[in-house]
Every structure is written in C-alpha cells, then in structure tokens.
Symmetry: C2
Subunit: 105 residues, 2 copies
Amino acid sequence: MEKLNETFAALSHETRRAILARLKQGEARLSDLTIPFDISQTAVSKHVRVLSDADLVIVEQRGRVRYCRLNAEPMKAVTEWLKDYQNFWPEQIDAATLFFGADGD
Amino acid sequence: MEKLNETFAALSHETRRAILARLKQGEARLSDLTIPFDISQTAVSKHVRVLSDADLVIVEQRGRVRYCRLNAEPMKAVTEWLKDYQNFWPEQIDAATLFFGADGD
DNA sequence: CGCATTGTCAACCAACTGGTTAAGTGATAG
DNA sequence: CTATCACTTAACCAGTTGGTTGACAATGCG
C-alpha cells in the first residue's frame, strides 16, 4: 500500500532513474555507477540504498564488491495503479499503441 | 525531462493519490476534498497545488469556488517510461493481461 | 603482513516537505 | 454594506532529502 509511496519516491530522481537505466544493460558494480554521475561515491551509495529499500535494485556482495542488478517487479504495482487512469487520458489514444508499439516506437 | 521528476514526486504521496482517485469520479471543489482527509484545508490546498504544478489536476475558479478536475495526461509519460522496464519484470506475465484485463476488469 | 580497493558510517549542511495556525483576499448572499 | 464562505498566503516547525567530507571496515593482491 504505502509501498507505492516508496516506489514513486524512488523514481522521482533523475540520478536514480539513470541508475536503473544503466542496470537494464546488466549487473554493475557500485563503483561503475559512480563514474558517469558527477557526484561522490557516497551519494551514489545513498541513491542505491534508496533504490534497494524500494526493492528496485538488488545488491549482492561478492568479495569486496557490491554488484547491483535491476528488479523491476515493484513497477508492476505502479503500472497497475496507472491503468486505472488510462480512461482519463485526454485524446484516448489506443493504449496498445503505446504499450506495444504500432509499428516501431 | 525533469517533468518526470515532478510527476513521480507528486504521485509519491498517499493523500495526493487519494485526491486523484476522488477526481476520477468527476469534478470536486477544494472544500469537498478536505472532508475525507483528516488534515486542514490548508494542507489539502498545498497538495492540490503540488498536483496542479505537476499538471495532474486542473483548477478552475468559478466565483469563489475552485473546482478541480483530473488531467491524466502526464501519466502517459510515466507509462511510456515504465514500458522500457516491462521486459525486466520477473515472471514476464503477459502485459496485455495486466493492462487490458484477462476477462473483464 | 601491509596496503590499496571498495564501500559504509557519521557528522554536517542547505533545501525541501508536509503539517500547523493565524491573518488576509475576494466573491456572493442577504 | 456587511458578513460569510472559500480559499490563499505567511510564518513557523519538525523531519526528510541530497549532497558533502573524513574516518572507518573489510577484502584481496603482492
């Protein structure tokens, strides 16, 4: 229930969405995530903490390295929540077009 | 771009999602929105402000009354963003089942 | 062992959030 | 015109967020 709060809040930051986007390409070390962002490792660590608290990222420690991977499962609840608002989209485009692509995105 | 930040942030509060849910049933005065929530009118006013800043609610003043109505349009961008993560859902259920219902909603 | 690598924790900070109460504004009913 | 209704604005407050730096812990290489 209030899980949605956490998920939405976690997704409401550019850097965290960028981290998730990066993780779509596969596992990454925490230190790998630090490089592209112009913030300290501590800051990245905090963002990853927020994401893992929200279950959007799973952190696994192997040796001295933390490996992060994506867990998109909580996004299901968000998608379900959004579903209830599709009827209220302004020009009621075919949802299938958006979700599955008409003929290329 | 950073619009998504605002949308996600606006959606990350229970009360604001409840306001949106209420507005699915149609237009409401600001004072109508205050009643079901155990907070002051000022607090509701602030929540509505956040929602209207995020373009999720359109406030129209007629006489001395502010009427609020839902604008689900920004949710399209959220849905599009989420679309890129469907492939990463754990047990890859058929998206059509979730979005359009298996046999009625 | 000794030391670099990888990351956390603690303390601090400024800015934002979500709530309050009290005062102010502006439209309408009488 | 005055009072009331429907809000907003202002001031305040505690707690959270997002960032910093510096010290610490744990792993693994040589």
